[in-house]
């Protein structure tokens, strides 16, 4: 039987919903399902007007990615969107316990505005720590991460051990996957403490700002040499990681870099220090003018343009090292690339839509007060409780998650409702931070046209998409997110 002839098209179908940015004689297009393509301006215009012939060499690729309106695979595109956004239905997975506000360091940029070592009234009690763990396990998320922070969390060892043991017991009963993480400056680490942490499979993260002079200038420690302590214990945990024992998993230690004004221009030395210590990730993070850092911004801060230059110089150097066989990734790029190349959520809560405030993470202050995130807690410590969402002893999980601050953050960080973001080519991969907006622009919504964080994110995405156009760079960058 003769096949029925397809109906003749009476009008051009035009383009489906897509986002774009012009870049010289090329145009970057993206869509809700996270696909992207580079087009010449003539091809872009043809696509937009529905005049792109199905014989065009790019047609098949564009159609497969959902850029051709009458070739949309709704099932496939919807499944891709659903998969990348599956966290929306899972509840908070990251629970940050601030075990104490005390710290033996006085870092130039310390956002947590640490209290002095004697201020024991800012210690979390073991009972409150266990209560926080119980609250965390109230989340429906099957994967719970509890991160211990401070101040310096090793100053409150009793609460740390209480929380670790209680969490392990709760996880065994609940059948949930539990990850425990400690962020410490290592100055109070001992072999006994290290053994307890390893036996309970607590992963370890520290701060490393670069070579000794830079690190010690940023991270002032009256009790000795902060850099020496950091390096000593990093090496210890590296060795333990290499010599795994059958009883438990030992994790590779990691480090966080905070870029202050003193760091600018020293990207090579900083990256070399990370490589020398066997660290495979360097997270080039900008300093946020939040809480304490905001007050001293004129001394320690920098412009978005200054940071962008530092970031791009660092990335360029890291790529050079990669091409010569050195294993090192820039973490922010790797996180963004996970979204761009794999359209998977890398768990970076600051770049989700809506952001992770309350619905992805909760910060637990030493006294049991709950905040949308650690940045929100820092604003609280500075005297403004706009981001406080409850107290672990007084409020139910439901009340906390449906409270005003949590809702406001969800609404304000929905990119669909942000006038600039809704139209931005990077929207499928990006996220805004209501706390940053509140602190720097006086509103949860912010004004993205003149927002420094937005400029930094745009700069990062712009650099990454630019690098992906060159095959030699693309090969390295794809390797960073291969699984």
């Amino acid at each position: 039987m003769a096949q029925k002839k397809a109906a003749e098209r009476t009008s051009r179908p035009g383009a489906p919903h897509l986002l774009w940015r012009r870049d010289g004689d090329r145009c970057l297009v993206t869509n809700d399902s996270g696909h992207y393509a580079w087009l010449g301006l003539r091809d872009f215009e043809a696509l937009m007007s529905g005049g792109l012939s199905d014989k065009h060499p790019l047609y098949g690729d564009l159609a497969a990615k959902g850029f051709v309106r009458d070739r949309l695979d709704f099932e496939g595109l919807a499944a891709r969107w659903r998969s990348a956004n599956s966290h929306l239905a899972s509840g908070p997975g990251l629970h940050i316990l601030v075990l104490t506000l005390r710290c033996n360091h006085k870092c130039l940029y310390c956002q947590s505005a640490a209290a002095g070592v004697g201020a024991r009234d800012t210690d979390m009690s073991p009972a409150t720590a266990r209560k926080c763990v119980d609250f965390a396990f109230g989340s429906p998320n099957p994967n719970i991460t509890i991160e211990f922070q401070g101040g310096e969390p090793l100053l409150n060892w009793d609460a740390l051990t209480a929380a670790v043991l209680h969490a392990r017991a709760r996880a065994a009963r609940a059948g949930k996957d539990l990850q425990l993480a400690l962020v410490s400056n290592f100055s109070l680490m001992t072999v006994e403490k290290a053994r307890f942490l390893m036996e309970n499979e607590v992963s370890i993260c520290t701060s490393l700002d670069g070579p000794a002079d830079l690190h010690n200038r940023n991270r002032v420690y009256s009790g000795g040499d902060s850099h020496a302590a950091t390096v000593k214990w990093l090496r210890y945990f590296q060795e333990k990681y290499k010599r795994q024992v059958p009883e438990y998993r030992t994790f590779k230690p990691s480090a966080l870099l905070t870029v202050s004004r003193c760091s600018l221009g020293r990207h090579k030395e900083i990256v070399d220090e990370y490589v020398k210590l066997g660290l495979e990730d360097v997270f080039v993070r900008p300093l946020a003018p939040i809480g304490y850092a905001r007050k001293y911004w004129d001394r320690i801060g920098y412009t978005a343009a200054d940071f962008a230059k530092f970031y791009l110089d660092s990335l360029d150097y890291i790529l050079k090292l990669n091409r010569s066989g050195v294993v090192i990734r820039e973490k922010m790029s790797a996180t963004m690339l996970e979204k761009v190349l794999n359209f998977r959520d890398p768990g970076y809560l600051d770049a989700r839509c809506p952001c992770g405030a309350a619905i992805g993470q909760i910060a637990y202050n030493y006294n049991g007060d709950l905040y949308t995130c650690d940045e929100g807690r820092m604003v609280g410590w500075d005297g403004d409780d706009a981001f406080r969402i409850g107290n672990v002893r007084k409020d139910s999980y439901r009340k906390v998650l449906t409270g005003g601050a949590a809702r406001a953050c969800v609404l304000a960080s929905n990119l669909e409702s942000q006038p600039d973001c809704a139209r931005c080519v990077y929207r499928p991969y990006c996220g805004v931070c209501p706390v940053y907006n509140y602190e720097t622009q006086g509103s949860l919504w912010g004004d993205m046209a003149v927002n420094d964080r937005c400029a930094l994110f745009k700069g990062t995405f712009g650099a990454l998409f630019g690098l992906l156009k060159k095959p030699a760079n693309e090969a390295v960058l794809r390797k960073w997110v291969q699984k």
């Binding site: 035009g14 383009a15 489906p16 919903h17 897509l18 012009r22 809700d32 937009m48 309106r69 949309l72 709704f74 099932e75 595109l77 919807a78 499944a79 969107w81 659903r82 998969s83 956004n85 599956s86 239905a89 006038p419 600039d420 139209r423 004004d447 046209a449 003149v450």
Partner: protein
Amino acid sequence: MRVSLADCALETVRYAAHAASRSARVFIRLDGPGTAVVELEPTGGCTAAGAAAAFRAELADERLRASLWEANRELRDFMLLKALAGEPEKAPARQDDSGLTPEQEKELDALIAQVEAEIKQEAAAGGAADPLGITKTWEDKYGAKKSRRKN
């Protein structure tokens, strides 16, 4: 700068103004029902001509975005609703490693049941006797294999 509202909606002018506010303060007022007047006051190092060119480029893009949005609103809503209403991702079902299809499994179960029933019948009919020792293992009948190694 005068913009005819017959060519684009006031909302489109507003979005373009928002985008152009990176390099200029933008003021919009209506001059009668059909015209918007846009005034640009450059900030930073931008010139007046530069700010006007930036606004015109943003306005052209914004008009394209508005028409694209209108034409695709229903399609996009459909796709996102489909994504939101779809089954959440489940862990893949544990794979059976027997390599049998469900039909083959059923046949096998039936065969096993049949054999078991026959064995029961034989046992009930005195079939437990085994004069040839065929139910014995090799080792029961002939003993375990001896090592050839010399100690």
